[in-house]
Symmetry: C2
Subunit: 197 residues, 2 copies
Protein backbone atom coordinates (compact mmCIF):
# COMPACT_ATOMS: atom_id res chain seq x y z
CA UNK A 1 0.00 0.00 0.00
CA UNK A 2 2.87 2.40 0.72
CA UNK A 3 6.52 2.18 -0.25
CA UNK A 4 8.55 -0.64 1.30
CA UNK A 5 10.73 1.91 3.07
CA UNK A 6 7.65 3.35 4.79
CA UNK A 7 6.36 -0.10 5.78
CA UNK A 8 9.74 -1.00 7.28
CA UNK A 9 9.89 2.22 9.30
CA UNK A 10 6.33 1.73 10.55
CA UNK A 11 7.23 -1.80 11.68
CA UNK A 12 10.26 -0.58 13.65
CA UNK A 13 8.32 2.29 15.22
CA UNK A 14 5.39 0.04 16.13
CA UNK A 15 7.70 -1.99 18.39
CA UNK A 16 8.80 1.02 20.42
CA UNK A 17 7.30 1.35 23.91
CA UNK A 18 3.98 3.27 24.07
CA UNK A 19 3.54 2.98 20.29
CA UNK A 20 1.42 0.46 18.38
CA UNK A 21 0.89 0.00 14.66
CA UNK A 22 -1.75 2.70 14.48
CA UNK A 23 0.25 5.38 16.29
CA UNK A 24 3.44 4.32 14.47
CA UNK A 25 1.65 5.05 11.19
CA UNK A 26 0.66 8.49 12.46
CA UNK A 27 4.23 9.20 13.56
CA UNK A 28 5.69 8.11 10.21
CA UNK A 29 3.19 10.19 8.22
CA UNK A 30 4.01 13.16 10.42
CA UNK A 31 7.74 12.64 9.79
CA UNK A 32 7.25 12.42 6.02
CA UNK A 33 5.15 15.59 6.03
CA UNK A 34 7.67 17.52 8.13
CA UNK A 35 10.84 16.30 6.48
CA UNK A 36 12.96 19.38 7.14
CA UNK A 37 11.55 20.47 10.48
CA UNK A 38 11.12 17.11 12.24
CA UNK A 39 12.55 14.13 10.34
CA UNK A 40 16.00 15.56 9.75
CA UNK A 41 16.49 16.92 13.30
CA UNK A 42 15.27 13.56 14.64
CA UNK A 43 17.82 11.60 12.59
CA UNK A 44 20.53 14.04 13.73
CA UNK A 45 19.56 13.67 17.42
CA UNK A 46 19.36 9.87 17.17
CA UNK A 47 22.84 9.72 15.66
CA UNK A 48 24.22 11.99 18.38
CA UNK A 49 22.77 9.66 21.01
CA UNK A 50 24.05 6.61 19.16
CA UNK A 51 27.60 7.97 19.06
CA UNK A 52 27.88 9.91 22.31
CA UNK A 53 25.92 8.09 25.00
CA UNK A 54 27.80 5.78 27.33
CA UNK A 55 26.75 3.64 30.29
CA UNK A 56 28.35 4.98 33.48
CA UNK A 57 30.94 2.46 34.70
CA UNK A 58 30.14 3.27 38.33
CA UNK A 59 26.36 3.56 38.68
CA UNK A 60 24.92 2.39 35.34
CA UNK A 61 23.35 5.75 34.36
CA UNK A 62 23.37 6.85 30.71
CA UNK A 63 25.33 10.01 29.95
CA UNK A 64 27.77 11.54 27.48
CA UNK A 65 30.60 10.82 29.92
CA UNK A 66 31.55 7.82 32.06
CA UNK A 67 31.62 8.28 35.04
CA UNK A 68 28.36 10.17 34.56
CA UNK A 69 27.64 13.75 35.68
CA UNK A 70 26.14 12.51 38.99
CA UNK A 71 29.07 10.22 39.88
CA UNK A 72 31.71 12.78 38.94
CA UNK A 73 30.02 15.77 40.61
CA UNK A 74 32.01 17.27 43.48
CA UNK A 75 28.88 18.72 45.04
CA UNK A 76 27.06 15.46 45.75
CA UNK A 77 27.23 13.48 48.99
CA UNK A 78 29.53 10.53 48.51
CA UNK A 79 28.38 8.30 51.36
CA UNK A 80 24.74 7.67 50.43
CA UNK A 81 23.76 5.33 47.59
CA UNK A 82 20.20 5.11 46.27
CA UNK A 83 19.51 1.78 44.56
CA UNK A 84 17.01 2.03 41.69
CA UNK A 85 15.62 -0.50 39.27
CA UNK A 86 16.23 1.41 36.08
CA UNK A 87 17.81 4.55 34.60
CA UNK A 88 14.24 5.90 34.20
CA UNK A 89 13.86 5.84 38.01
CA UNK A 90 17.19 7.62 38.45
CA UNK A 91 15.99 10.33 36.05
CA UNK A 92 12.68 10.60 37.94
CA UNK A 93 14.56 11.16 41.23
CA UNK A 94 16.83 13.73 39.57
CA UNK A 95 13.84 15.56 38.09
CA UNK A 96 12.33 15.86 41.58
CA UNK A 97 15.68 17.41 42.49
CA UNK A 98 15.76 16.84 46.27
CA UNK A 99 18.23 13.94 46.46
CA UNK A 100 21.92 14.81 46.52
CA UNK A 101 23.64 11.45 46.98
CA UNK A 102 24.88 8.74 44.64
CA UNK A 103 22.86 6.17 42.64
CA UNK A 104 23.19 2.55 41.69
CA UNK A 105 21.13 1.18 38.78
CA UNK A 106 20.25 -2.46 39.48
CA UNK A 107 19.08 -3.12 35.92
CA UNK A 108 15.87 -4.88 36.98
CA UNK A 109 14.36 -6.73 39.93
CA UNK A 110 14.40 -10.42 40.84
CA UNK A 111 11.60 -12.27 39.11
CA UNK A 112 10.88 -15.98 39.09
CA UNK A 113 8.38 -15.43 36.28
CA UNK A 114 10.81 -13.62 33.99
CA UNK A 115 13.73 -15.80 35.09
CA UNK A 116 15.76 -12.93 36.55
CA UNK A 117 18.17 -14.14 39.22
CA UNK A 118 20.72 -12.18 41.33
CA UNK A 119 23.48 -12.77 38.74
CA UNK A 120 21.45 -10.85 36.15
CA UNK A 121 21.44 -7.70 38.30
CA UNK A 122 24.25 -5.26 39.13
CA UNK A 123 24.55 -6.56 42.70
CA UNK A 124 28.25 -7.45 42.82
CA UNK A 125 29.20 -3.97 41.63
CA UNK A 126 27.01 -2.52 44.40
CA UNK A 127 28.75 -4.66 47.03
CA UNK A 128 32.19 -3.70 45.79
CA UNK A 129 31.22 -0.01 45.76
CA UNK A 130 30.18 -0.30 49.42
CA UNK A 131 33.32 -2.27 50.23
CA UNK A 132 35.71 0.22 48.62
CA UNK A 133 34.05 3.55 49.44
CA UNK A 134 32.89 5.31 52.55
CA UNK A 135 29.23 4.38 52.05
CA UNK A 136 27.20 4.83 55.23
CA UNK A 137 23.64 4.48 53.94
CA UNK A 138 21.98 2.47 51.18
CA UNK A 139 18.46 3.63 50.21
CA UNK A 140 16.44 0.93 48.46
CA UNK A 141 14.15 2.76 46.01
CA UNK A 142 12.81 -0.26 44.17
CA UNK A 143 9.25 -0.54 42.83
CA UNK A 144 6.47 -1.13 45.39
CA UNK A 145 5.61 -4.47 43.78
CA UNK A 146 6.03 -8.04 45.02
CA UNK A 147 9.14 -8.51 42.87
CA UNK A 148 10.46 -5.18 44.10
CA UNK A 149 10.08 -6.06 47.77
CA UNK A 150 11.53 -9.56 47.23
CA UNK A 151 14.54 -7.86 45.67
CA UNK A 152 14.77 -5.38 48.55
CA UNK A 153 14.70 -8.23 51.08
CA UNK A 154 17.36 -10.10 49.12
CA UNK A 155 19.57 -6.99 49.05
CA UNK A 156 19.12 -6.51 52.82
CA UNK A 157 20.40 -10.07 53.36
CA UNK A 158 23.41 -9.43 51.13
CA UNK A 159 24.16 -6.08 52.79
CA UNK A 160 24.15 -7.53 56.32
CA UNK A 161 27.90 -8.02 56.27
CA UNK A 162 28.45 -4.25 56.13
CA UNK A 163 28.04 -1.89 59.06
CA UNK A 164 25.74 0.52 57.20
CA UNK A 165 22.24 1.93 57.47
CA UNK A 166 19.75 0.36 55.03
CA UNK A 167 16.54 2.28 54.36
CA UNK A 168 13.65 2.07 51.93
CA UNK A 169 11.16 4.61 50.58
CA UNK A 170 8.06 5.25 52.71
CA UNK A 171 4.85 3.70 51.43
CA UNK A 172 1.35 5.16 51.78
CA UNK A 173 -1.17 7.44 50.10
CA UNK A 174 0.47 9.55 47.38
CA UNK A 175 0.06 13.32 47.59
CA UNK A 176 -3.09 14.56 45.88
CA UNK A 177 -4.77 11.14 45.83
CA UNK A 178 -8.46 10.59 46.57
CA UNK A 179 -8.97 7.83 49.12
CA UNK A 180 -11.76 6.13 47.18
CA UNK A 181 -9.44 5.68 44.21
CA UNK A 182 -6.73 3.92 46.25
CA UNK A 183 -6.50 0.13 46.24
CA UNK A 184 -7.25 -1.81 49.44
CA UNK A 185 -3.61 -2.81 49.98
CA UNK A 186 -2.40 0.78 50.00
CA UNK A 187 -5.22 1.88 52.32
CA UNK A 188 -4.45 -0.92 54.79
CA UNK A 189 -0.74 -0.19 54.68
CA UNK A 190 -1.31 3.54 55.14
CA UNK A 191 -3.60 2.89 58.11
CA UNK A 192 -1.19 0.45 59.74
CA UNK A 193 1.72 2.86 59.32
CA UNK A 194 -0.30 5.88 60.49
CA UNK A 195 1.66 8.64 62.19
CA UNK A 196 0.77 10.83 65.15
CA UNK A 197 0.25 14.47 64.25
CA UNK B 1 20.03 15.09 34.72
CA UNK B 2 20.98 13.20 31.57
CA UNK B 3 23.33 14.16 28.78
CA UNK B 4 22.33 17.08 26.57
CA UNK B 5 22.09 14.76 23.58
CA UNK B 6 19.50 12.66 25.39
CA UNK B 7 17.51 15.71 26.47
CA UNK B 8 17.44 17.01 22.91
CA UNK B 9 16.23 13.66 21.54
CA UNK B 10 13.52 13.41 24.21
CA UNK B 11 12.31 16.91 23.29
CA UNK B 12 12.03 16.03 19.60
CA UNK B 13 10.30 12.71 20.31
CA UNK B 14 7.87 14.33 22.77
CA UNK B 15 6.49 16.47 19.95
CA UNK B 16 5.64 13.50 17.73
CA UNK B 17 1.95 12.54 17.50
CA UNK B 18 0.75 10.09 20.19
CA UNK B 19 3.88 10.70 22.28
CA UNK B 20 4.27 13.00 25.27
CA UNK B 21 7.29 13.76 27.44
CA UNK B 22 6.79 10.67 29.57
CA UNK B 23 6.47 8.21 26.70
CA UNK B 24 9.25 9.98 24.79
CA UNK B 25 11.54 9.30 27.75
CA UNK B 26 10.57 5.62 27.70
CA UNK B 27 11.21 5.43 23.97
CA UNK B 28 14.62 7.08 24.26
CA UNK B 29 15.70 4.83 27.14
CA UNK B 30 14.59 1.83 25.11
CA UNK B 31 16.62 3.04 22.14
CA UNK B 32 19.75 3.56 24.25
CA UNK B 33 19.40 0.11 25.76
CA UNK B 34 18.89 -1.58 22.38
CA UNK B 35 21.49 0.33 20.42
CA UNK B 36 22.33 -2.39 17.92
CA UNK B 37 18.93 -4.06 17.58
CA UNK B 38 16.62 -1.02 17.55
CA UNK B 39 18.41 2.34 17.44
CA UNK B 40 20.64 1.58 14.47
CA UNK B 41 17.90 -0.05 12.33
CA UNK B 42 15.62 2.90 13.19
CA UNK B 43 18.19 5.46 12.02
CA UNK B 44 18.73 3.42 8.86
CA UNK B 45 14.98 3.22 8.14
CA UNK B 46 14.46 6.93 8.82
CA UNK B 47 17.24 7.83 6.40
CA UNK B 48 15.77 5.54 3.73
CA UNK B 49 12.44 7.30 4.12
CA UNK B 50 14.12 10.72 4.11
CA UNK B 51 15.92 9.97 0.85
CA UNK B 52 13.48 7.75 -1.04
CA UNK B 53 9.94 8.91 -0.29
CA UNK B 54 8.26 11.24 -2.75
CA UNK B 55 4.81 12.84 -2.91
CA UNK B 56 2.89 11.41 -5.87
CA UNK B 57 2.45 14.17 -8.47
CA UNK B 58 -0.98 12.84 -9.43
CA UNK B 59 -2.82 11.88 -6.24
CA UNK B 60 -0.66 13.18 -3.36
CA UNK B 61 0.14 9.74 -1.87
CA UNK B 62 3.59 9.07 -0.39
CA UNK B 63 5.64 6.39 -2.13
CA UNK B 64 9.13 5.58 -3.39
CA UNK B 65 8.02 6.47 -6.89
CA UNK B 66 6.00 9.32 -8.39
CA UNK B 67 3.45 8.54 -9.80
CA UNK B 68 2.83 6.20 -6.88
CA UNK B 69 2.14 2.45 -7.08
CA UNK B 70 -1.63 3.05 -7.08
CA UNK B 71 -1.59 5.67 -9.84
CA UNK B 72 0.80 3.70 -12.05
CA UNK B 73 -0.88 0.31 -11.57
CA UNK B 74 -2.33 -1.17 -14.76
CA UNK B 75 -4.78 -3.27 -12.80
CA UNK B 76 -6.74 -0.47 -11.17
CA UNK B 77 -9.90 1.13 -12.54
CA UNK B 78 -9.03 4.45 -14.09
CA UNK B 79 -12.44 6.11 -14.10
CA UNK B 80 -13.24 6.25 -10.38
CA UNK B 81 -11.53 8.70 -8.02
CA UNK B 82 -11.90 8.47 -4.24
CA UNK B 83 -11.25 11.83 -2.55
CA UNK B 84 -9.69 11.48 0.93
CA UNK B 85 -8.57 14.03 3.49
CA UNK B 86 -5.13 12.60 4.16
CA UNK B 87 -2.61 9.96 3.08
CA UNK B 88 -3.52 8.10 6.30
CA UNK B 89 -7.07 7.66 4.99
CA UNK B 90 -5.76 6.43 1.64
CA UNK B 91 -3.67 3.83 3.50
CA UNK B 92 -6.69 2.80 5.58
CA UNK B 93 -8.73 2.20 2.40
CA UNK B 94 -5.85 0.24 0.86
CA UNK B 95 -5.49 -1.90 3.99
CA UNK B 96 -9.17 -2.82 3.76
CA UNK B 97 -8.30 -3.89 0.22
CA UNK B 98 -11.70 -3.76 -1.45
CA UNK B 99 -11.34 -0.53 -3.45
CA UNK B 100 -9.70 -0.77 -6.85
CA UNK B 101 -9.96 2.75 -8.26
CA UNK B 102 -7.86 5.90 -8.05
CA UNK B 103 -7.36 8.30 -5.13
CA UNK B 104 -7.02 12.00 -4.63
CA UNK B 105 -5.53 13.35 -1.40
CA UNK B 106 -7.15 16.67 -0.55
CA UNK B 107 -4.60 17.53 2.14
CA UNK B 108 -7.20 18.61 4.70
CA UNK B 109 -10.78 19.83 4.93
CA UNK B 110 -12.22 23.35 4.85
CA UNK B 111 -12.17 24.89 8.30
CA UNK B 112 -13.11 28.40 9.32
CA UNK B 113 -11.55 27.79 12.73
CA UNK B 114 -8.17 26.67 11.39
CA UNK B 115 -8.32 29.16 8.51
CA UNK B 116 -8.26 26.51 5.78
CA UNK B 117 -9.84 27.79 2.58
CA UNK B 118 -10.30 26.07 -0.82
CA UNK B 119 -6.94 27.40 -2.07
CA UNK B 120 -5.15 25.46 0.67
CA UNK B 121 -6.51 22.13 -0.57
CA UNK B 122 -5.66 20.12 -3.69
CA UNK B 123 -8.94 21.01 -5.39
CA UNK B 124 -7.64 22.49 -8.66
CA UNK B 125 -5.56 19.37 -9.31
CA UNK B 126 -8.70 17.26 -8.73
CA UNK B 127 -10.68 19.36 -11.21
CA UNK B 128 -7.96 19.12 -13.85
CA UNK B 129 -7.71 15.34 -13.32
CA UNK B 130 -11.45 15.06 -13.99
CA UNK B 131 -11.21 17.41 -16.96
CA UNK B 132 -8.34 15.56 -18.62
CA UNK B 133 -9.16 11.92 -17.82
CA UNK B 134 -12.11 9.63 -18.36
CA UNK B 135 -13.38 10.01 -14.78
CA UNK B 136 -16.99 8.86 -14.41
CA UNK B 137 -17.40 8.78 -10.62
CA UNK B 138 -15.98 10.78 -7.71
CA UNK B 139 -16.41 9.18 -4.29
CA UNK B 140 -16.17 11.70 -1.45
CA UNK B 141 -14.63 9.81 1.50
CA UNK B 142 -14.08 12.77 3.81
CA UNK B 143 -14.42 12.59 7.61
CA UNK B 144 -17.97 12.42 9.02
CA UNK B 145 -17.50 15.73 10.82
CA UNK B 146 -19.03 19.15 10.24
CA UNK B 147 -15.90 20.38 8.47
CA UNK B 148 -15.85 17.18 6.43
CA UNK B 149 -19.44 17.57 5.23
CA UNK B 150 -18.95 21.29 4.52
CA UNK B 151 -16.01 20.29 2.34
CA UNK B 152 -18.04 17.57 0.64
CA UNK B 153 -20.81 20.07 -0.14
CA UNK B 154 -18.28 22.56 -1.47
CA UNK B 155 -16.76 19.89 -3.70
CA UNK B 156 -20.21 18.92 -5.01
CA UNK B 157 -20.78 22.54 -6.03
CA UNK B 158 -17.41 22.66 -7.80
CA UNK B 159 -18.00 19.33 -9.53
CA UNK B 160 -21.41 20.35 -10.92
CA UNK B 161 -19.86 21.46 -14.21
CA UNK B 162 -18.86 17.86 -15.02
CA UNK B 163 -21.20 15.16 -16.17
CA UNK B 164 -20.11 12.62 -13.54
CA UNK B 165 -21.58 10.64 -10.66
CA UNK B 166 -20.73 12.04 -7.22
CA UNK B 167 -21.15 9.70 -4.26
CA UNK B 168 -20.23 9.71 -0.59
CA UNK B 169 -19.62 6.97 1.97
CA UNK B 170 -22.71 5.57 3.73
CA UNK B 171 -23.23 6.71 7.31
CA UNK B 172 -24.74 4.65 10.11
CA UNK B 173 -23.91 2.20 12.88
CA UNK B 174 -20.42 0.72 12.39
CA UNK B 175 -20.12 -3.07 12.27
CA UNK B 176 -19.71 -4.64 15.70
CA UNK B 177 -20.95 -1.54 17.57
CA UNK B 178 -23.24 -1.71 20.60
CA UNK B 179 -26.23 0.61 20.20
CA UNK B 180 -25.94 2.04 23.72
CA UNK B 181 -22.39 3.20 23.00
CA UNK B 182 -23.39 5.14 19.87
CA UNK B 183 -23.96 8.90 20.04
CA UNK B 184 -27.46 10.32 19.50
CA UNK B 185 -26.60 11.83 16.13
CA UNK B 186 -25.49 8.52 14.67
CA UNK B 187 -28.54 6.71 16.06
CA UNK B 188 -30.90 9.29 14.59
CA UNK B 189 -29.13 9.21 11.24
CA UNK B 190 -29.14 5.40 11.17
CA UNK B 191 -32.86 5.33 12.00
CA UNK B 192 -33.73 7.94 9.38
CA UNK B 193 -31.71 6.11 6.72
CA UNK B 194 -33.09 2.70 7.69
CA UNK B 195 -33.30 0.12 4.91
CA UNK B 196 -35.95 -2.48 4.20
CA UNK B 197 -34.73 -6.04 4.71
Amino acid sequence: MAGQDIEKLIKICAKLPSLGTRSARRVVLHLIKKRETVLQPLIEALRDVEHNIKTCEICGNFDTTSPCAVCSSEKREKNTVCVVQDVADLWAMERAGFYHGQYHVLGGVLSALDGISPEDLNIETLLSRIRNNMITEVILALPATIDGSITSNYLVSRLKEFDIKITTLAQGIPIGAELDYMDDGTLQLALNSRKEM
